[in-house]
């Protein structure tokens, strides 16, 4: 992994969904799903995007793929042909870049079309990208299924004949069918049984090595990201609160929210049981985020300043010198 070779650059990305109310459909407010995110995704890395439900991680993933268009800010893709600002392109312009960016979904039950065979579901994108003959398409789909450890013959069967884990593997095969460079995995293993999760995680890692992929791995499960990711971004209420190397995040946690999140995870190892920090209350509504630091109402270290000023992501030394956190109370930030 080359540290300074970003494949994707996000600058101040905001996704606000208007809330319409009344007969006149007047906009009465905004859901600030993603609220100003700066992020680089480096070529060949696995970037974890972690947070609780409603923190905006899925919306951010979709904004990367332009499935949801950002209300503000830029998403820039850097490929062989130089930089391209995806956020300014229309559907036709995006077509060439759809090939490079793909997505694997969470729910193996709704991610495949029940009315089509596996081949039927997978062939259309191929045809769309110029694989003309049916014979060729059948060969490619067969190869893809073998790549995800499934039998070639499975392509003529229907989704309901497969288990959740198999379906998830077919979903991965579909994402890889047009040879993307970056794959967004949106809770790709969360809906699977634990023993199947491991199969899919290993498959994802093998494919990454083989095909030189970059992953943005969206999950709520911090024990999965520890195993899988190179860098992790922790999100809270539409903002990134901490971003650093995976190892650094677990050994040198800076942000109080990350600290609480880590302590809350049930660990399947009796000898590693830690004191859990129980956060009071719930995640506030993204329609009306708290003033100042969005985490302050639940933070046990909160000071008056947290209520009034929004903390910016600042750089800290850490082990790599690349530890970013947004908190007023962490001392000694590095000057930029």
């Amino acid at each position: 992994m080359q540290p300074n070779d970003p494949i994707l650059t996000l600058r101040d990305v905001q996704v606000h969904f208007p809330i319409k109310s009344g007969i006149l459909k007047r906009t009465s407010g905004h859901v600030r799903a993603v609220d100003g995110v700066d992020l680089d995704v480096y070529r060949g890395e696995v970037l974890g995007l972690v947070g609780e439900s409603g923190c905006g991680k899925t919306t951010l993933g979709k904004a990367i793929l332009q499935l949801v268009r950002a209300t503000n800010g830029t998403v820039t893709y850097q490929g062989d042909g130089g930089e391209t600002e995806l956020t300014t392109l229309d559907d036709a312009g995006l077509f060439a870049f759809r090939k490079r960016l793909q997505i694997v979904f969470q729910d193996p039950h709704s991610s495949l079309n029940p009315a089509f065979t596996i081949f039927g579901s997978l062939e259309d994108p191929l045809r769309h990208y110029g694989v003309k003959t049916r014979k060729e398409r059948r060969k490619i789909v067969g190869d893809l299924l073998e790549a995800v450890n499934m039998r070639r013959e499975s392509m003529d069967r229907y989704p309901h004949e497969f288990s959740g884990g198999q379906r998830q593997r077919i979903g991965i095969a579909r994402a890889l069918s047009i040879q993307p460079e970056l794959v967004v995995c949106d809770e790709a293993v969360s809906a699977l049984d634990v023993s199947i999760q491991a199969q899919v995680l290993q498959l994802l890692m093998d494919l990454k090595r083989e095909k030189n992929l970059t992953y943005v791995f969206i999950t709520h499960d911090l024990s999965v990201t520890e195993f899988l990711c190179d860098r992790i971004a922790v999100m809270y209420l539409g903002k990134i609160v901490e971003l650093c190397d995976a190892e650094e995040l677990y050994s040198n946690t800076l942000h109080p929210y990350t600290e609480a999140l880590l302590s809350a995870i049930p660990v399947a190892d009796l000898d590693r049981k830690s004191q859990r920090i129980v956060l009071e209350g719930d995640v506030p509504s993204p329609v009306n985020p708290p003033s100042g630091c969005p985490f302050h109402p639940r933070c046990r270290y909160a000071q008056p300043v947290c209520r009034t000023d929004v903390p910016q992501l600042r750089r800290y030394r850490g082990k790599s010198g690349q530890h970013l956190a947004a908190c007023h109370l962490i001392d000694h930030p590095l000057a930029d």
């Binding site: 049984d193 199969q199 995680l201 399947a268 190892d269």
Partner: protein, 338 residues
């Protein structure tokens, strides 16, 4: 496993079959366990292993196209033992036990509460049905319950409707309803699966308190070994309708004997073990419930399979509180002792 005085509920050789689409699914095929007063029993297993059917059998909340074929479910109440499996499904006796003696909370707090009634009404309804409290007492009891579940401003919250509650608060309200009549047993079916980890931690804290202060016996159904490690006193590992290994949490998690328990523990990433930890996937997938192997249900995926595995292994006690269902347990015992 001798019967102590603290046993709240015992299940013996329970068989529950489900009949849908004119097929027979042997969802539970001989399950035995005990729930003890003031202890938490975790039933852990993957989807389709029968853990939820176990809970539904105890509560007699099974789907219409299913029945208890064999076995005993005995509730050891204050008035002596009651055979639950012999009671009429929706008879008066069963309904008197449900809610008052054995209460249950469900996975999805979003749908488990009726949206057209206030939270307070739903708690008070339980109290009206199962206690002799008067109207005013019921109201103050409902507020007390919400307060003890950690819901802020219970005096106001009691009259609010479920849609105003967040997911974590709804699950607390569910627990408040379940705990309203001081049941001796609380059955929790994946109570935190739909919740975020920080909210999950709050619910765990609450359940620990209930167990400690009220001596409630808790049966917790989960698929998450982490939850087991956090909360369980005893654990039963289920696979395809059988309890393959059961015992105190310390023994089962530290020195697992059954190959399935071991494989399960090896297949999950554990927080704090770093990026280099090895996780081993269990090959294959769970068998079709309508077309089960005749012998050990795990045999097809097991690395230690021998020809004996074509027959169902018996339940064997490997210690006075630790039992396992495997033909080759002795080898694994020796292995675990090292």
């Amino acid at each position: 496993m001798e019967m102590g005085n603290d046993v709240a509920l015992s299940v013996r050789n329970l068989k529950t079959y489900i009949y849908t689409n004119n097929r027979c699914n042997r969802a539970l095929d001989g399950v035995s366990f005990e729930i003890r007063q003031g202890k938490t029993l975790c039933i852990v297993g993957e989807s389709g292993c029968g853990k939820s059917v176990t809970a539904a059998s105890i509560m007699q909340l099974l789907p219409t196209l299913s029945r208890i074929e064999d076995g005993e479910i005995t509730y050891h109440g204050p008035d002596g033992p009651v055979r639950i499996d012999a009671l009429e499904r929706d008879g008066a006796k069963m309904r008197a036990i449900r809610g008052k003696e054995i209460a249950m909370i469900f996975q999805d707090p979003m749908t488990a509460l009726n949206p057209v009634y206030s939270i307070g009404f739903q708690i008070k309804e339980m109290l009206r049905y199962h206690t002799s409290l008067g109207r005013k007492d019921r109201h103050s009891k409902a507020i007390d319950l919400l307060r003890s579940m950690g819901i802020p401003l219970p005096e106001r919250r009691v009259d609010e409707y479920p849609h105003l509650y967040s997911g974590g608060m709804r699950q607390r309200a569910m627990i408040a309803i379940a705990m309203s009549c001081n049941p001796r047993i609380l059955i929790a079916d994946e109570p935190t699966t739909a919740l975020d980890v920080t909210i999950q931690a709050q619910i765990f804290e609450l359940m620990d308190t209930l167990k400690r202060e009220n001596g409630t016996a808790i049966m917790l159904i989960t698929h998450d070994m982490g939850v087991v490690a956090e909360l369980a006193d005893d654990v039963a590992v289920m696979y395809m309708g059988n309890i393959v290994e059961a015992g105190p949490v310390g023994k089962v998690l530290r020195k697992p004997v059954h190959p399935y328990t071991r494989a399960l523990l090896d297949s999950i990433p554990v927080l704090g073990r770093g990026k280099d930890q090895e996780i081993k996937a269990i090959p294959g997938q769970t068998p079709d419930p309508y077309n089960r192997p005749t012998g050990c249900q795990f045999a097809d995926r097991c690395a230690y399979r021998v020809s004996a595995c074509d027959e169902m292994p018996p339940e064997t006690m490997v210690a006075d509180d630790h039992r396992v269902m495997c033909w080759r347990y002795q080898e694994f015992m020796a292995d675990a002792a090292e």
